[in-house]
Amino acid sequence: MAGLLEIHHLCKSFDTIKVIDDFSLEVVEGTLCCLVGPNGAGKTTTMDLITGRIKPTSGKLVFAGEDITGQDEHVIARAGIGRKFQVPAVLRDLTVRQNLTVAFSRQTNPFFNLLRFNVPGLKDKLDEIATLAGLTHRLDERAGILSHGETQWLEIGMVLMQSPRLMLMDEPIAGMTEGEIEKTARIFKELRKSTTLIVVEHDMGFVREIADVVTVMHMGSLLAQGTIQQIESDPRVRDVYLGEQEAA
């Protein structure tokens, strides 16, 4: 099976500093890949490169057979890549309902949208996602007043509204309670059946529970890749990442 997302020899330098150094990765459709690594390993930068927020210095990104290298954010998003940010980014002045409605971006043409007041299929999808995210009773609240956990959920909900083929989740459980983390793990496992996910996460317990494949980054390069058992027994990974964590 070919990879849904293929990253070929990706490099990104800021001035003379190589942040991403010859990083290659293949994400197979229908799997959940966890991207781990110490702070500054380049995980979020990789996310930025995949979604077009920053353009690579060299290398190639192929999504579903299409070359998406250097495309604008909205083009990549339309191709089917949804993203949740590390610092939850929701539209704080809009209501929860409006946030989810905007995220339901089947039609993105401004002229077409000028004449559209009812979006077909929106209501069912919105009800489904709001229930899943546990935000049904908060739909008419301003997103800015939600708690941190709810904000995380809203942003995950927004990504789900997009129904992307590939979801990038940057630290989705940061600031969540134990119960919320369990729920997130359950949902991610459910999502894996129908879609592909890349999850950046520090919580190894969470990674252990959800990951099909774990990719370890270090200094902008691929350090190791494999199942969670392989990774946890890899001495190099223990050195640069897991060991550090246990010591901390």
């Binding site: 998003a77 940010f85 980014a89 539209l91 704080r92 002045d93 809009l94 971006s105 993105t108 401004p110």
Partner: protein
């Protein structure tokens, strides 16, 4: 029961009440001069509406709305000027006085009234589309975009001032007779002029309101909130910004045309930086997130300027400045937020009280 301020039906009722009130005026007033003056307030209302759409709902602060207004006004003045030229006397006096004995190409489209009006509205809109496209594609936003519009405005001002033979220079253009549409003459000092402005404002407001309620309007509000985030949802932010900026420019161009129709005069003063900034002040004081609030803001400030300004002379500017500071400091969303807060209070009260009345609040003129 929620806050009536956000109730769409209540909003439409408030709009209907507002325009009904405006429609009663010409039936009550017999003074043609006063009617003409009130009609010019309607033009200012259109401008405030255009700013509210662009800034309040699109998050694009535009300090150069005078470009669209001015180009529209010049287009209309040129059309009206050409209407009064005859076969024996085909060249307008501003050219003859400046040693030009032929009609420049710039004026050709305005020889015909229909094509003149199309150009008067089309050129400013086209300018906004092209300028907006270039700026927004390069992700110029916020204060930087505001500065660019200001620079553009000054450039237009200078060019128009400088090209005396084509534009009349500092004296501008003073068409000798009112606008004629076919055989019908629109007398600016009559209720006809008022009604033309009234319907323009009514239609523009309804269209603008529908835009804010459409999917497009929701996306622009999302962009106002966090443009960066919206890109990752698949929307072309620059595309949306260009469209709302152009629509706003189109409304300002209509305002420019109507203004010249009312006063039969245009000069570079209409592209003065101060005037464009006043448009932003109207919207800020009235409430930029409320279309109707912005329109009322324009009425209040311009009305105040006409009546109090005459009494207090330049002290009026001090009042205005002080008022502006107060509003920005204590009511960042303008006077409309007073209505919002008031209705919110009523909503909370009726929630706590065990009242059997299904609807405790009156429909205020709310956005």
């Amino acid at each position: 029961m929620g806050n009536l301020y956000y109730n769409k039906t209540a909003q439409w009722i408030a709009y209907a009440a507002f325009f009904a009130a405006l429609a009663i005026i010409p039936m009550r007033i017999d003074d043609d001069f006063l009617l003409n003056q009130l009609a010019t307030y309607g033009v200012y209302g259109l401008l405030a509406l255009s700013i509210s759409l662009c800034w309040g709902f699109g998050g694009i602060l535009n300090l150069g709305q005078g470009i669209a207004f001015g180009l529209g006004a010049y287009g209309m003045a040129m059309t009206m000027q050409m209407q009064s030229q005859t076969v024996e006397n085909p060249i307008p006096p501003i050219m003859l006085n400046n040693g030009l004995d032929y009609l420049p190409y710039l004026w050709w489209p305005f020889q015909n009234t229909a094509s003149g009006l199309i150009f008067a509205l089309g050129i400013p809109t086209l300018f906004c589309a092209v300028f907006g496209r270039i700026m927004f594609k390069a992700r110029v936003s916020g204060a930087f975009f505001a500065i660019m519009t200001l620079a553009m405005l000054s450039a237009f001002y200078t060019i128009i001032l400088d090209q005396q033979a084509y534009t009349g220079g500092v004296n501008g253009i003073t068409p000798p007779s009112p606008l004629r549409l076919g055989s019908f003459e629109i007398d600016p000092y009559s209720s006809v002029g008022y009604w033309v402005v009234f319907f323009a404002l009514l239609i523009a407001t309804v269209v603008a309101k529908l835009i804010t309620q459409s999917s497009f309007g929701l996306v622009t509000q999302a962009i106002r909130d966090d443009a960066e985030r919206v890109r990752f949802l698949g929307y072309s932010v620059s595309g949306y910004e260009t469209v709302i900026y152009s629509i706003s420019g189109f409304i300002a161009a209509i305002a420019g045309c109507l203004w010249v129709m009312l006063v039969q005069y245009v000069s570079p003063a209409q592209l003065d930086v101060g005037f464009s900034i006043s448009m932003v002040i109207w919207a800020a004081i009235g409430g930029r997130m409320s279309l109707i609030g912005s329109i009322i803001g324009a009425f209040v400030i311009q009305g105040g300027q006409s009546y109090l300004g005459d009494a207090f002379l330049s002290t009026w500017l001090l009042f205005l400045g002080g008022f502006f500071i107060l509003v920005v400091r204590f009511l960042p969303n303008g006077l409309a937020s007073l209505v919002e807060a008031g209705l919110g209070l009523i909503a909370t009260k009726s929630k706590t009280a065990t009242s059997h009345e299904p609807n405790g609040a009156k429909p205020f003129p709310a956005e």
